[in-house]
Structures are given as C-alpha cells and as structure tokens.
C-alpha cells in the first residue's frame, strides 16, 4: 500500500529512525500534547490599550472600515452608517443565525430594507451585504477570526460584496497562538469547527499588471463594528 511504502521510504531516509529507539515517537507525542512556546514578536504580546490600538491600526492599514461603538445595541446604527458609505447601496443585508444579532433592533436606523436571515439554498447575489459576528480578532495583524457554523456561515464570509463583522471588544486576543488555544478550549472535545477563517482585509489580487485591486473573488469591502 502506498501509505506504508511512503512512510517506509521516509524512515529509511532518516538516520535517526534506523535504531529501535522510542526517542522519536516520544518527541512527537510530547510536541503534540504540549505545543511549543516559540519566541513571538513583542507586538504579539500586547495587552490593554496598546493591543486595542494595534488592532485598529492594523485593520485600517488593510483597508478595512472600522466603527467603534459602546455596546451591541449600537451595532445596527453603525451598520447603517457603513452601508450608507457604500456606493451603490447594497440592495440586501443578510445575516447569519446568531443569537446576538437576532436580538438587535433595526427600527431606528436609516435602513430601508430589514436584514434577512440567510437561506443556504439561495445564493447571495453579487452586490449583497452580509453581517456576521466574529469569534474574535487577533491584534498582532488585525485579523478577524470567524468560525463556520450557523451563526457565521463561511458563505457569508466569502460571497457578499460587502462583509460587515460585529466584534466584541472583550474577544480581542494578542496573538495567533492565543486565538487557536482559546478556540480549542471553547469547543467540545477541543474539536475545531469545519472552518476557522482568519480574515485580514478585503479580498484582493495583484495578478493584473501587479496592481492591487480589491474584490477579486471575496468581498470588495470589509467593515468592522467593534463594540463594548
């Protein structure tokens, strides 16, 4: 079988695998059970205001729109502001099946159309906007962390023209390591969701004449509403 052949070939190429020692399996088991703490850049260990400032600066450098509001209840107004800045205004706003977003009141906003619950059988049209709630964000690079599932379906991360993301201030972490560890801890059996999408800015390409153009296949615009 190919599996055995490949593994045997690799073993025969590794001098350390020649002896009948259990040193290598032990090293591997240990690394998997207790992942290493590699040196990180200082900017990946920030806390408090410095961490917050790094996140905002990084998001803005990528071309992500950021609005900071006091609480979750202020998200609809911020969404309306961001959509209002978009030319032309997206015809629809689709949201994921998220309890935090479901409870929001949209009456007082300037939006003419009410948000619609996403229907998996009807694909988003080019031009649509979507609002999902992020699991959190990594401050070191201004990276949003979105977990696939009913609350933030991966389709809403990649198909709309304009992706709006609600982000709770308390969910900001310093580094990728911290994000991965916390996601694992928060899951049953530490099992990861099908997709953990780390999003750092709108979709882009440099493939035509080396010029950066936004909106290659994914969202042309990305907006973050940071609350709390």
């Amino acid at each position: 079988m190919s599996r055995e052949t490949i593994l045997a070939r690799i073993r025969s190429a590794l001098p350390a695998a020649a002896g009948r020692t259990d040193e290598r399996p032990r090293a591997v088991a240990q690394r998997l059970a207790d992942p290493p703490h590699h040196p990180r850049p200082a900017f990946a260990s920030l806390t408090g205001e410095a961490r917050h400032a790094r996140l905002i600066a990084a998001l803005e450098t990528q071309g992500t729109d950021v609005i900071e509001v006091a609480s979750l209840g202020d998200v609809p107004a911020a969404v309306a502001t961001l959509l209002g800045r978009s030319q032309p205004t997206p015809p629809r706003l689709v949201i994921g099946d998220d309890a935090r977003l479901a409870g929001l009141s949209w009456e007082k906003t300037s939006l003419t159309a009410r948000p619609e619950q996403w229907d998996a059988s009807a694909p988003l049209e080019d031009g649509d906007a979507a609002l999902t709630h992020a699991w959190g964000a990594v401050a070191e690079t201004g990276t949003l962390v979105l977990l696939s599932g009913a609350a933030s379906p991966a389709s809403l991360t990649f198909l709309p023209e304009f992706h709006l993301v609600a982000l709770a201030r308390e969910s900001i972490v310093s580094s990728f390591e911290e994000a991965f560890q916390r996601i694992a801890e928060s899951r049953v059996d530490q099992r990861f969701p099908r997709a953990v999408n780390l999003v750092s800015g709108p979709s882009r390409t440099g493939d035509i004449g080396g010029r950066i153009v936004k909106g290659a296949h994914g969202p042309r615009r990305l907006g973050v509403i940071l609350y709390g």
Partner: protein
Amino acid sequence: MTPSTETFKSNARAALADAKLAKALAGLPGGLVAQRTAAKGRVPEFEALRNTARDIRDHTLAHLDLYLEAFAQKAEAAGSRVHWAETAEEARAIIARLCQERGARLVTKGKSMVSEEIALNRHLEDLGITAVETDLGEYLLQIRGETPSHIIAPAIHLSQDQVEADFRVHHNHLAPDRVLTTAESLVAEARAVLRERFLAADIGITGANFLVAETGSAIIVTNEGNGDLSAHLPKTHIVLAAIDKVVPTLADAATLLRVLARSATGQDMTAYTSLLTGPKAPGDPDGPAECHIVILDNGRSEMLKNGLGEALRCIRCGACLNHCPIYNAIGGHAYGWVYSGPIGAVLSPAFLGIDAAQDLPSASTFCGKCEEVCPVKIPITRLLRGWREKSLETGKRRHERWLLGAWAFFARRPRLYHLATRFAVATLSVLGRPRGAFKRLPLAGGWTARRDFPAPQGRTFQQLWAEHQRGVPR
C-alpha cells in the same frame, strides 16, 4: 507540463530578448522586493522568527513519518478521507476516480503548485472533466495555455493589455463594446465569470500551505478568497498536498505564518488564512459534505535520502525568485518547469533528473541573496553546488571537465604555474595594453560575447614581488 529544462540556454536567450517580459520584471524591485523589506522592517524580531521557522521545519522533517501518521489519524477522526500517492500518476488516478465516482463534470481549483507538478488539469480534461483555475493569475494562464512563471504571482510576466486581449477572445459571450481599460474592470469581469463556475462546480480542488498534525487541518492561504470558495461551495473538497507540507502544531503554524506573507508579498498576513478541519458538521448550513486529502510523495522521500532534505523546508513564498538577479533578468518560464528561480534550480533536477536539468544549478552567480531572504534559511547555494558535483560526475559536461583538469594540472604545480602564467600574461599585455582591453580573444568567447576582456598589466605579481625582494625597483 512538458519540461523544457534541457533547452535552458536558448530559453534564457529568448527571455532576454522579450521586451514585454523585461518590462514586467522591472516591477519586481519596487514591488514585491520593496514590500518585503518594509514588512521585515516592521518586525524587529524577524531574524529570530526565521531561525525558529527553520528549526520547526527541520524538526518536522526529522520526524516526518510520525507527523504524517498523526496528521492522517486526526484528519480521519475529523471526518476527512486521507489518500496516499507515491507518484504523480497515482495522485492523478486517485483524484480522477474521486471525480468520476461522483459524476463530476466541473471542478474549480484553488492555486496549487503540486497540481501543476502532477499535470492534473490535462488529465482531468482527457477524462471529460472541466477543471477551472480560479486564482486570477492561474486563470489567465489557463486561458492562454501557459504555465506559471512564479510561485505566488504566476502571471507576473503578463501585462494588462495582454489580459484585455485574452478576455475579449475568451469571454466572447459578453458585449464586444464593453470597456476593459482598467485593472478594476478586468478583475470585475473575471469575478463575474468565475463566480458562476464556483456556484456550479461539483468538486473543489485546492492545495494546502500546511497540514497540521495536531488537529488534522489543512491551512490554505490566499488573497483572493478563491481557495475558500473552492473549498466551501462544492459538495466535495479535495486537498492535494505533498508530504513536506505537514507541521506539528498550530503553534508551529503561527510562526510559519508570521514569516510566510511577509516574505512573499510583504503583507503582514494575506487576506485569507483558513484552517479547514473535516467536512461539514451536523448543524452547519454550508460547506462540503465530503473532504478528501491526497498526500503525495513524488520523489520527496528520495530528496530526504539524497541530502536535499533542506530543500523540503521550503514554504513556497517566492522570495528567492523576487530577489534573484538571474530570475529578474530571465523570468520564470526559462527555467523550463513548474518551479523556477533559485529554489526551482534545486528542485527541478530532483524531479526531472540531473541530466535533464543540468544547466539550472550552473545558472547562478552564488551571490547568496536567496539565502539572505529565505524565511526558512535553505542553504540554496550549497544545494546547487551539490547538483553541480553530480552533473560533473555523471552529466554531459565533458568539455568543462577537460578544461578544469587542464587548469588544475597547472594550479597544483606552483612553479610550473608561475612560469607558464608569466609568458601568457606578457603576451596578452603586449597586445592589449595600448587599448586596455580586448574586444575578442581566442578561447575567451564566453567572456567577450558581452564584455571586453581587460588587458593584464604585463607581469605577474609573483614575478614583480620576487624582484622587489631583491631590491629591483618596479
């Protein structure tokens, strides 16, 4: 793809004569190179990260069999099916079977150098399955019938007006009078055309930047989001990745991600980095029902055995290409196969055999810039020198071997050497000194093809120094 590594010299000459290519390549120093320099400048700890990244890769390769087993076990536990392929043929057969069993007619593809390596598209086309490349650069190449000329910017050799012309020919269902004069309009058109393909595809095939043993996940890094649309939308997702893509843990992946985009495009992170673990779970509204992972060897275990293990550290950032003076002069196609630039010159002889690719390792000045920028510190010049040894032993470099032998005969005999060089130098000097240089010189056609040969001053230093010691004035 059919390799043209054997005609490297004529490929390179043709590339040097290509003005459009020269114009495209002229953008590298101010583009990807300058962006990497800036990104590195924003990370004071960059050198330490490179060392850690190198150590992670070396540790993984030293335990590769075990991490692959651990990865496969975790991936299957997460609901993925893992397939093992020793050769390109086997990988093609596995993927073809998966497609045929599902009655697939349309496949969308994320960018994958390994799929270029195994020439997957042609195989699928032969079976009547349409495979559409969705990375914009790869899509441009596919409609032109070309191959990538760069690892991360596959269509770097193309100009905007070439793309417009191709779109007008290829997208002939669209209005002929549409305006396509900006990069934005071309991107928008490709987005619309490919969006339909994404939504209609039966199967999505992507590569992987990393396979994480700790979780059984594939990590896919893109800027466009095309890899994600290929992975999320079709009912079946197939990941094609080589054995060297495995990393132990997410903590290890975090370090590698910190150097990958910064070295590649000079971004701190690419727009999308996705950690994909298994197929859609109960309660998931979207995602593929099946996830298959094809793990390919295709000669890599041999590389590990033959002292080329360090080349398997490579994380395919393309920095060595961007910074290489040779790549900057001739571009990627001249190298004649999937992988180009310095790392291509190391890899191609391993995949194709040194006899078919013997010119590539020689096509380097050993300037060392590639090693200076490599995020995992691959000793590229040492590996190239190893190939030069092999090709001198076994290859067709008979003429060169003879010349080296003749030179070595003298160089090993100092007295004879000093005597012989005295006469040679004296003769050359008499002829060349008035003008200072030769336009043409017997036996030095290689040198004088592009430059004059400076005339020697007239006497050897050894000769003059001996006289100087005896008190003779110069």
